[in-house]
């Protein structure tokens, strides 16, 4: 039950983050919003799963995934934010729906 | 003797690995390549003798019996083609080594070549439809590499066409496999022979036609062949030679194997095959006539000749299938030889465009003779091997009362003769164009010894095919009887 609740909260955070990614106005703000999902959201989901699982092997796998995520994702998001910031006034930011093929 | 069966696949793979590891030494790589292929010629001959005397040899990879495991099946058809293929591969490798500048060959050449050899052998020997896909991929990937080694502009351009079209074929193959497994739950060809029979006719015909399209792309039949004349001529001449001789024939092999083994008589798309065959023959030979470049002319005649084989298959009689088997043997040898000669012409005259070269009957009379013999054989002039092949097809076709398509094939053979005389007159008879007078060739034989000798050997082989046409045709007939008797194959592989 605890596990499921944690997972639910995690999912809610992921959803909120997705809402943010859709609603917020500029790319940096959207990146901030994603961080919600990529940290507390996913950790809660993993924690919820870990609590609900019974096999030790499975639990350690989930823990491992969480640890690896914490290790690997910050540098990646730092790189993205750096790139996004540098690109902020580059034409990469222009809307390309305008010239997409019909 | 079943240990012989996997050798043509496994040995080149080990050789390729060693070749990658000894990449620093060209000569070590060559020793590996030559010794592996020389061994395989012997192995293939031994296998053919074994198969012809004692019947089909079946071996199970990993010891897992079919239909669960992958079975390797050497029947007469496969063994015959294996012998010809290994011989051709060996001759072309020597030719490639003898080509001036071969020492600059990329470090990957020998490995890719050996993988190609493994892929060709695996295509012939496998008794498993998915393994056939994998074998094709081995062969094709190696061919992509060989085609583009060097990275010249035209190679890249033609490489794109070749690779993309081949990948379409591969994807279609996987698609076909998915449908096959979906309907039958097996990919073992012997098992499939039984299970496909029970399918409703609609989906069964659809599968037969889908497989025909898949292999038709590789075999270069109309309207799936357009890629071939654009891509083959740009490769280095040894590569073109081995592609021209072997790769399309692997496609033909797969068509023959799958149509005859997997599908019962009532599913066979005979009319479709004959229509496609006629179109292939005609469009191919017209293309050959329209070209000015020797390699392009020869490339189009590949297409045209494939039409003959497809026509023979379309008759679906023992005699016709025997003729097809014989034709494949003849065509591999002759076409490879012709492309090797084309390479020698290019080498001696500095170009392969007819409008730029000429007079080679005087400068390289030996080469002229080699070309004449091969070209006449290709055009089906008696008593060369091409004639036996043509006669066998005509005989079988008339016996089957397929007058229209046979008449077409006869007309096409005249046009083939015309295409060949265009090369003969353009390159050998007509005086050389002053603008591009090439340096005189190094010797009267027309090129470096290591290039001329394997070419000569192949031409002699083609004469040998003509001289020994009796036994070879008899063998082809036995192979055709095997091919037409699906249940015997199934019994050999899965047990009675």
């Amino acid at each position: 039950m605890t596990g499921e609740l944690l997972a639910l909260i995690g999912a809610a955070l992921v959803l909120l983050s997705a809402v943010g990614v859709v609603r917020l106005s500029d790319v940096l703000a959207r990146l901030h919003a994603l961080a919600k999902a990529s940290t507390l959201g996913i950790l809660l989901l993993l924690a919820g799963a870990a609590i609900n699982l019974h096999d030790l092997n499975d639990i350690t796998s989930v823990v491992l995934a969480g640890v690896l995520h914490l290790l690997a994702s910050p540098p990646a998001s730092n790189m993205i934010s750096r790139a996004a910031y540098l690109a902020a006034d580059h034409d990469d930011m222009t809307d390309e729906r305008a010239d997409a093929e019909p | 003797m079943s240990w012989l069966v996997p050798l043509p696949i496994v040995l080149p793979l080990v050789g390729a690995a060693v070749s990658v590891l000894v990449g620093r030494s060209r000569s070590a790589q060559r020793v590996v390549g030559i010794s592996v292929l020389a061994t395989l010629v012997v192995v293939a001959v031994a296998l053919l003798v074994e198969v012809d005397t004692n019947g089909t040899v079946v071996t199970e990879a990993g010891g897992w019996a079919g239909p669960m495991g992958i079975t390797l099946v050497a029947d007469r058809f496969a063994a015959i083609l294996l012998v010809v293929a290994e011989l051709t591969l060996f001759a072309v490798l020597v030719y490639a080594i003898g080509e001036p500048g071969a020492e600059r060959n990329h470090v990957g050449f020998q490995s890719a070549y050996l993988v190609l050899a493994a892929g060709v052998a695996a295509s012939f020997l496998t008794g498993d439809l998915f393994n056939l896909f994998v074998a094709f991929e081995m062969m094709l990937t190696a061919s992509y590499v060989l085609l583009t080694l060097g990275g010249r502009h035209d190679q890249v351009r033609s490489g794109m066409t070749y690779v993309v079209i081949s990948l379409i074929a591969s994807t279609l193959f996987v698609t076909a496999l998915a449908f096959v497994y979906s309907t039958t739950g097996t990919v073992n060809m012997a098992d499939l022979a039984g299970r496909l029979e029970e399918l409703p006719p609609g989906i069964r015909s659809a599968l037969a036609v889908l497989l025909l399209v898949v292999f038709g792309i590789k075999a270069a039949i109309f309207p799936l062949f357009f890629w071939l004349p654009d891509s083959y001529p740009t490769a280095p001449s040894p590569i073109t030679a081995v592609f021209a001789g072997l790769l399309t024939k692997v496609g033909v092999y797969a068509i023959v194997r799958t149509q005859l083994l997997l599908f019962p008589e009532e599913t066979r798309p005979a009319t479709l095959l004959l229509v496609l065959a006629a179109c292939t023959m005609v469009v191919g030979v017209l293309g050959a006539i329209a070209q000015d470049d020797i390699r392009r002319i020869l490339s189009f005649t590949i297409v045209s000749q494939i039409g003959y084989m497809i026509m023979g298959l379309g008759f679906f009689t023992v005699a016709a299938v025997a003729a097809v088997v014989f034709s494949i043997v003849h065509h591999i040898v002759v076409k490879t030889a012709l492309f090797m000669i084309g390479g020698l012409v290019d080498h001696a005259a500095g170009s392969s465009r007819l409008s730029r070269i000429g007079g080679m009957v005087r400068t390289t009379p030996f080469l002229a003779t080699l070309f004449l013999v091969s070209a006449l054989s290709l055009a089906g002039i008696p008593p060369l091997s091409g004639f036996v092949s043509k006669f066998a097809l005509i005989d079988a076709g008339f016996a089957d009362r397929q007058y229209a398509v046979v008449a077409t094939s006869i007309v096409v053979s005249l046009l083939t003769l015309f295409a060949m005389t265009r090369i003969w007159m353009g390159a050998f008879w007509s005086p050389p164009e002053e603008a591009t007078v090439a340096p005189p060739p190094p010797n009267r034989s027309g090129g470096p010894v290591l290039m001329v000798v394997p070419t000569t050997v192949l031409v002699l082989c083609s004469l040998g095919v003509a001289a020994a046409a009796g036994p070879i045709y008899a063998l082809s007939e036995r192979a055709a009887e095997d091919l037409m008797d699906r249940h015997a194959y199934v019994a050999e592989v899965l047990g009675p």
């Binding site: 909120l16 961080a35 934010s81 | -």
Partner: protein, 182 residues
């Protein structure tokens, strides 16, 4: 003995992966880990740090608090009828420049919603942090300083004598050195 610590970490990872603490797994983990460390040795310069477990716990606590509070803040913003943000960039110069501290700091910054690292100076002595809600610049600076302290203690970092990062920066990178508001 740096590699011993690394070996222990690798074996723990190995055991986590296998999910069973059997002797066989430990032995194989040690063998495999050692083999890896032999095949790909650690480089001398950068891998010099020692974990202070107490400080690590403090850092984790800080991160958790940050996580929750910033998540709440973010949620509020996202769900407002018209999201109103007050973004800005702060340059933070480290007291004790260290590659490890920078890395740890940027990671924590990345993990907390509302902050993210935009850049790090070539000398690893200044980080540029983008705040989504830069209402209170002084508070933001304070939180960065606190984070640096916790991070430095957690990995017990010593100023590197031989490293170029010890020297103060000659000049701050031009485009990113001041808070900006939109």
């Amino acid at each position: 003995m740096r590699w011993l610590g690394r070996l222990v970490l690798l074996v723990i990872l190995w055991l986590l992966a296998w999910g069973e603490g059997t002797i066989g797994n430990v032995v194989s983990g040690v063998l495999v880990g050692a083999a890896l460390l032999v095949a790909f040795p650690l480089t001398t310069r950068v891998d010099r740090f020692r974990l202070d477990l107490v400080a690590v716990a403090q850092l984790v606590g800080h991160v958790l608090v940050q996580l929750v509070s910033s998540n709440v803040q973010m949620t509020r913003e996202i769900l407002r009828r018209r999201p109103a943000v007050c973004p800005g960039v702060l340059a933070h110069r480290l007291r004790v420049p260290s590659e490890h501290v920078v890395t740890l700091m940027t990671s924590v910054i990345a993990l907390s919603p509302g902050t993210m690292t935009i850049d790090v100076s070539d000398e690893s002595d200044t980080i540029y942090v983008h705040f989504l809600f830069l209402y209170d610049e002084a508070a933001a600076r304070r939180s960065l300083e606190r984070l640096e302290r916790l991070a430095a203690r957690a990995i017990n970092v010593q100023p590197e004598a031989d490293s170029s990062s010890g020297a103060p920066p000659s000049s701050a990178p031009a485009p990113l050195d001041s808070p900006e508001a939109t």
